[in-house]
C-alpha cells in the first residue's frame, strides 16, 4: 500500500532538526539504546556465531518458504487455529472486518503489530465505524494524538514527557502539568485494564511462527499482548509470511538475539508461545503477502525479508537519529524501512534509499546480517534507472561523472573550487547550496593533494 506523504524525507527532516535541543535529545537517547545493545551483545562470546546461524536459518526459510508455509498451515489447523491468507493490505483488513462482523463484536484491543500499521488497519476500521484500542503504551499515546509510531520498538520516542502529560490530561483527565512517567504510566494502566476486561476481540502481531508446531510467539515487555489475547473470546494474530521459522529449537537462537539487539535486555519480559486456542476461544492467523513474494524474487533485495524488526539499525543510524521516524513517511522507518518500502511502492518511496550516509553501521548491528547499506546503494541505482531520482541529483551525478572521467577537467575544477571558497565564499555559503544548510563550509586547502604530492616528491 502506498504512503500518502506529500513531502520527502529531506524536507521533513529539515522540520525535525529545526528544534535543536529536541533533536539532540532524540539523537542521544537512541545512541544510549545502541550502547545498551553493544553491552548485551558483548556479554555473549558466541554473539557473531548466533548472528550467522540466525541469518542462515532465515535464508533457509526464504528458500523453502512454500513448504514451510504449507506445513505451518497444516499444523496450525490441526491445533484448532483458523488460517487466512491475504494478498495485500486491503484483503488483510477485510478479513479482520469480516471476523468482527460475523461475531458481532464491538470492543477490540490491539497490541503492537507493524504489519497492521503497514496495512493501515486502524484507518480502515475507523472508516467502517469500528473503534480499535491500541494497548502498547507508546502506541496508545500516539493513537490519542492521531499520529503514527515513529519507531517500530519505541513508538513514541519522538515525544517528550510534557507532550504525553498534555495528551493524557486531555484524554484521561490526568493532573495538568504532572509529567512524572510513573504517574502517567499508572494512569494508562488503569485506563487500559478496563479496556482489556471489556474486550471481545484481541489483535496481536507475531514475532515468530514455527512451521513444525503450527504455533507462534509474541514478545512484549508490558504484557499487553497477553492481557488482550487471554481476556478476549477471539484472538486474531497477523503476520507477514516471512515470520516463519522452521523449528521451535530455532527460537533458542532468535530470542537470544531479538531483545538484546532491540533494547539491550537479555530477553523481553514475556515471550508467549501460542499453539492452540483456549477452551471456548476462537484463534485466527492472517498470513499476509503485500509485496513480500515480489521482494523474494529480487535477488539483490530478498535478504531484507530476514528482518526480525528489532530496530537496531534505527538506533545506530546517524540519519534516523537526527531526522526522526516520521520523516520516513512509512510504517517501518529507518534503514530497514528504506530497503523494504521501495518494493511496496517505488514512486512513493523513491527518496528513502537516499536518506542514508551509507556508513554501514546498520549492517554491522543487524542480528540477521542483512547487508542493509549495500541494498540502500542498490536501490539508488534502481530508482535512478527508473528515472525517479530527484532532478538535482541526476544532474549533479551527470556532472560529477563527466568531471571524474576527465582528469584535466577534474584538476581544473578542483582549482576553481578552492579559489571560489577562498575568494568568493558567498557563492557557496548560501541557501542555494544544500551542503551549506546546517553546516559551515570547510576552509579550502591551499593546494590539491596531487600538487602537494608532486611538489614533495621532488624534494
Amino acid at each position: 500500500m502506498s504512503s500518502q506523504a506529500n513531502f520527502t524525507h529531506a524536507e521533513a527532516a529539515e522540520q525535525f532538526i529545526a528544534d535543536e535541543p529536541r533533536t539532540d535529545w532524540h539523537d542521544d537517547t537512541l545512541w544510549f539504546v545502541r550502547e545498551k545493545r553493544d553491552k548485551a551483545a558483548h556479554s555473549l562470546p558466541e554473539w557473531e556465531q548466533l548472528r550467522q546461524w540466525a541469518s542462515d536459518i532465515k535464508y533457509h526459510g526464504l528458500s523453502n518458504m512454500h513448504q514451510l508455509l504449507v506445513d505451518f498451515e497444516k499444523n496450525a489447523i490441526a491445533n484448532g487455529i483458523q488460517v487466512h491468507w491475504a494478498v495485500d493490505g486491503k484483503e488483510h483488513n477485510e478479513i479482520i472486518y469480516k471476523i468482527i462482523q460475523d461475531n458481532q463484536v464491538q470492543r477490540i484491543v490491539k497490541s503492537k503489530s507493524m504489519l497492521t500499521e503497514e496495512c493501515h488497519l486502524n484507518e480502515f476500521l475507523t472508516e467502517k465505524g469500528v473503534e480499535i484500542v491500541d494497548t502498547d503504551l507508546g502506541e496508545r499515546i500516539v493513537q490519542f494524538r492521531k499520529e503514527t509510531p515513529s519507531h517500530i520498538v519505541l513508538p513514541a520516542i519522538h515525544l517528550k514527557k510534557q507532550d504525553v502529560s498534555e495528551t493524557f490530561h486531555e484524554h484521561l483527565g490526568t493532573e495538568k502539568g504532572n509529567n512524572d512517567p510513573q504517574y502517567l504510566t499508572e494512569a494508562a494502566r488503569g485506563h487500559l485494564r478496563d479496556k482489556f476486561i471489556a474486550s471481545e476481540l484481541a489483535i496481536t502481531g507475531v514475532n515468530f511462527a514455527v512451521a513444525e508446531t503450527g504455533g507462534f510467539v509474541v514478545c512484549t515487555n508490558e504484557g499487553n499482548a497477553d492481557m488482550g489475547a487471554h481476556a478476549a473470546k477471539i484472538h486474531i494474530a497477523c503476520m507477514g509470511f516471512e515470520k516463519i521459522i522452521p523449528k521451535a529449537e530455532h527460537l533458542g537462537v532468535f530470542l537470544r538475539l531479538l531483545a538484546r539487539s532491540a533494547t539491550g535486555q537479555p530477553i523481553t519480559t514475556y515471550s508467549s508461545h501460542f499453539s492452540k486456542p483456549r477452551a471456548g476461544q476462537q484463534m485466527h492467523i492472517v498470513i499476509v503477502d503485500n509485496g513480500r513474494s515480489r521482494q523474494l524474487g529480487r535477488e539483490s533485495f530478498r535478504n531484507s525479508l530476514k528482518c526480525i524488526r528489532c530496530a537496531a539499525c534505527f538506533n545506530t543510524c546517524p540519519v534516523y537519529r537526527r531526522s526522526g521516524g516520521h520523516s520516513y513517511h512509512t510504517a517501518v522507518a529507518g534503514p530497514i524501512g528504506s530497503i523494504l518500502n521501495p518494493n511496496l511502492d517505488m514512486q512513493a518511496n523513491k527518496d528513502l534509499p537516499f536518506a542514508s550516509t551509507l556508513c554501514g553501521s546498520c549492517s554491522n548491528v543487524c542480528p540477521v546480517k542483512i547487508n542493509i547499506h549495500e541494498q540502500l546503494y542498490l536501490w539508488r541505482q534502481e530508482i535512478t534507472k527508473e528515472g525517479m531520482a530527484a532532478k538535482g541529483k541526476t544532474f549533479a551525478m551527470w556532472g560529477m561523472s563527466e568531471v571524474l572521467a576527465h582528469p584535466a577537467i577534474y584538476r581544473m575544477a578542483g582549482k576553481m573550487g578552492r579559489w571560489v571558497v577562498k575568494h568568493l565564499p558567498f557563492l557557496t555559503n548560501n541557501g542555494m547550496n544544500p551542503w551549506f544548510k546546517q553546516r559551515e563550509m570547510p576552509e579550502a586547502p591551499k593546494e590539491s593533494f596531487r600538487d602537494w604530492y608532486l611538489n614533495n616528491k621532488q624534494k
Partner: protein, 194 residues
C-alpha cells in the same frame, strides 16, 4: 485463484534455490558454572527478585509470610491450601482483583532470568499477567544456562500455551524512563527450591 493459491504460486516462482539448514550447536552457547548466582544477577537487574529455600517446608513458611496482608491470593501450586482466600468466580473482573498469584515454573534460564511456565501450571492463561504480584516457584535442579538448552527441554506437541516470563512487566515508552508495572505484575519473584 484464491489468495492462498496466488501467494503460494508467487512464492514458488520467486524463492531461491534451497539452502541447507545450519546445525545450531547448543554446546557452543555460553555455560555458567554457578547457575543460581547468574540467574539472580540478571533477574535483579531486570527488576525481579530471587529467593532460595532448601525444601518445601521452608517454601511454605516463606509463602505464608508473603501472603500476609494480601486480600486475594491464587495459589496454583496447591489450590486446596486453606490459608488462601479463593476467588468466588473466574470472571475477568474478579481476576483483576488478585493481589498475588503463586505458580510453578518448570525451567529457569540463567542467561536471561526467564522462567518457562506452561498452561497447566498457570491454571488460567491470563493468571500470570493479570495478577498484581507474581511468585514463580522452580525446582533448583531445573536450571539451564541458556535459551538453547531451554528449548531442548520443552515438548511443544503437548502445549497449547506457554511463556517465558522474565521479571515484572515494564515499559519505557515515556521518554525512555523505566517504569515497572505496565499492564502485568508490578512485582515478580522467583523462588528456587532445593
Amino acid at each position: 485463484m484464491s489468495a492462498r493459491e496466488t501467494i503460494l504460486a508467487g512464492i514458488m516462482a520467486n524463492q531461491p534455490l534451497s539452502q541447507k539448514l545450519p546445525v545450531v550447536r547448543v554446546n557452543e552457547m555460553i555455560q555458567y558454572e554457578d547457575l543460581v548466582s547468574q540467574f539472580k544477577i540478571i533477574l535483579e537487574a531486570i527488576g525481579g527478585a530471587c529467593l532460595e529455600v532448601k525444601d518445601h517446608e521452608e517454601l511454605d513458611t516463606i509463602l505464608q509470610e508473603l501472603i500476609k496482608e494480601k486480600q486475594v491470593v491464587l495459589n496454583a501450586i496447591n489450590p486446596s491450601q486453606t490459608l488462601v482466600r479463593q476467588l468466588q468466580t473466574d470472571s475477568l473482573e474478579s481476576l483483576a482483583s488478585i493481589d498475588m498469584a503463586i505458580i510453578n515454573g518448570s525451567l529457569a534460564v540463567a542467561e536471561s532470568g526467564a522462567v518457562w511456565v506452561s498452561e497447566e501450571q498457570m491454571i488460567l492463561r491470563i493468571l500470570p499477567f493479570i495478577t498484581e504480584q507474581l511468585v514463580l516457584v522452580v525446582d533448583r535442579k531445573n536450571m539451564v544456562s541458556n535459551m538453547g538448552q531451554a528449548y531442548q527441554q520443552i515438548d511443544f506437541s503437548e502445549i497449547g500455551f506457554g511463556a517465558f516470563i522474565a521479571g515484572p512487566s515494564k515499559t519505557a515508552d515515556i521518554e525512555q524512563s523505566l517504569v515497572i508495572g505496565a499492564h502485568g505484575p508490578k512485582k515478580s519473584m522467583v523462588i528456587l527450591v532445593g
